[in-house]
């Protein structure tokens, strides 16, 4: 069977893990943010980022390490319903400001590892958990019961301003403490009920 790849637009969600929110909270009232976000803060992972499970991801020359954003994406069916869930490895060039859209940090070729298959058993995404292993060593855990907006609320708050179409994907967010990985390492995202998502990072062409 061919591995799953998204047919629609993939959206990510910033600050949707409570630990991630709490870590940034002391700075939210300062410039340039001046206030905590009110509505969900989303970004897009463009189609050039899509990498299937098992395929290598090339880091560009000059990028020594990347931040691993392990998450679960809700894959939309028709009329706002969730058709399935999929593991995703949302890579970023490390950055500390969330003031401007993160295109140059997140939309590089290959920077989204995508699980091979959808989980379609209808389980509540709030019951999911995952862990990140780099070269087999566990570096981070995430429990999707610890979201600022639980999946149903996130869907409703996003639907308030835009329609998620059939095939679009909404990623639930990444936990605080995102690990760094470098070329030559293998990143596995392991979650009960899902097939492992594994991608090797390789050195990019100069």
């Amino acid at each position: 069977m061919k591995p799953y790849l998204p047919t629609g637009t993939v959206y990510g969600t910033l600050l949707n893990f409570r630990a991630e929110w709490d870590a940034l909270s002391p700075h939210m009232h300062a410039a340039p943010y001046k206030a905590p976000p009110e509505a969900p803060i989303l970004y897009v992972k463009t189609a050039n980022t899509f990498t299937p499970h098992g395929a290598p991801i090339a880091l560009p020359a000059g990028v020594a390490q990347v931040e691993v954003g392990a998450t679960i994406g809700l894959v939309m069916g028709g009329s706002g319903q969730v058709a399935g869930c999929v593991l995703m490895n949302d890579l970023s060039i490390p950055h500390t400001s969330f003031y401007r859209p993160p295109v140059k940090y997140k939309c590089l070729d290959g920077f989204l590892g995508i699980g091979a298959a959808l989980r379609t058993d209808g389980a509540d995404p709030a019951s999911f958990s995952l862990e990140v292993r780099i070269d087999g060593q566990t570096c981070q855990r995430a429990d999707f019961s610890e979201l600022v907006r639980p999946p149903a609320q996130l869907l409703a708050d996003v639907a308030d301003f835009m329609t998620l179409r059939a095939g679009d994907v909404l990623m639930l967010g990444c936990n605080a403490g995102r690990p760094l990985a470098r070329a030559g390492q293998r990143v596995d995202i392991v979650a009960p009920g899902f097939e492992v998502l594994s991608n090797a990072l390789v050195g990019g062409q100069p």
């Binding site: 969330f98 835009m162 679009d168």
Partner: protein, 255 residues
């Protein structure tokens, strides 16, 4: 050639403009007002990448109270669900204070573009169309600004009417842009005043992200944005490219 994508009698057609009418791929010629206009773009195998520039005209950057033009492109990304065609309706939420159009030259990528050099950039442009990149300033937040609640709303990015082949636009960096609201000119500018011109943008984006045929770059808007209200007819027009007509429709207040 000017290409359109329209629904006629319930069927989606590719069409071209001929003598003020639409020649459907079936061979039938129909009037402009006999069809529903879609964005003038062929479907893409994967999600279309839609990049949009902020603050890419020095005068607009000044208008928005930024002290100087940006040193690198300010870019955000839209989903295809935000797009609608020519002569359609854009929804204005009830009780917002400031919703404005943005007349923008939209570049349609014609060939796969990866690490393109500035000198070669023109070869990767398939054509041009007009975008109206509406913004609702009430929803601006300083997180990934401009945030998607401002810029990725359903119906809020009209595009069209036509995709004009690149060969038919003589000097893309010298095109007059103009917006009228109910017939009165409210915005005018010229693409020569872009902070980052088209070759720069293609070189810049393709340096880290491969662009595919059908991807879009909305290149920013000049000075002169005003609030638009229910029933306003907004025409965003670019010389040699087209005049995109859109009407504002206010939503009923939620009870």
């Amino acid at each position: 050639m000017k290409r359109a994508r329209v629904i006629h009698q319930g069927v989606t057609h590719d069409a071209t403009e001929r003598d003020g009418r639409l020649l459907l791929a079936s061979g039938e010629a129909v009037e402009f007002d006999a069809v529903t206009w879609l964005p003038p773009l062929a479907p893409t195998p994967r999600a279309r990448t839609i990049l949009a520039l902020g603050l890419n005209y020095a005068d607009h950057a000044k208008e928005l109270a930024f002290s100087k033009a940006p040193e690198e492109p300010l870019v955000f990304v839209k989903g295809e669900g935000a797009l609608i065609g020519h002569r359609q309706f854009t929804r204005r939420p009830a009780q917002v204070q400031f919703m404005h159009y943005e007349c923008e030259l939209a570049v349609v990528i014609g060939r796969t573009a990866k690490k393109v050099r500035r000198a070669d950039a023109w070869d990767f442009i398939g054509g041009y169309t007009v975008a109206n990149d509406y913004a609702i300033r009430d929803y601006l937040e300083n997180w990934y600004r401009p945030n998607l609640r401002v810029k990725n709303r359903d119906t809020c990015t009209p595009l069209g009417p036509f995709l004009v082949d690149a060969a038919d636009v003589p000097d893309p960096m010298n095109l007059a842009l103009r917006t009228t609201v109910n017939g009165a000119v409210t915005q005018s500018g010229n693409t020569r005043d872009m902070v980052f011109d088209l070759p720069f943008l293609i070189e810049y984006f393709s340096s880290f992200m491969t662009l595919s045929p059908g991807d879009l770059i909305l290149t920013g808007t000049p000075d002169g944005v005003v609030d638009c209200r229910h029933g306003d007819v907004v025409v965003t027009e670019i010389e040699h490219v087209g005049a995109l007509v859109n009407t504002i429709q206010e939503e009923s207040p939620t009870p």
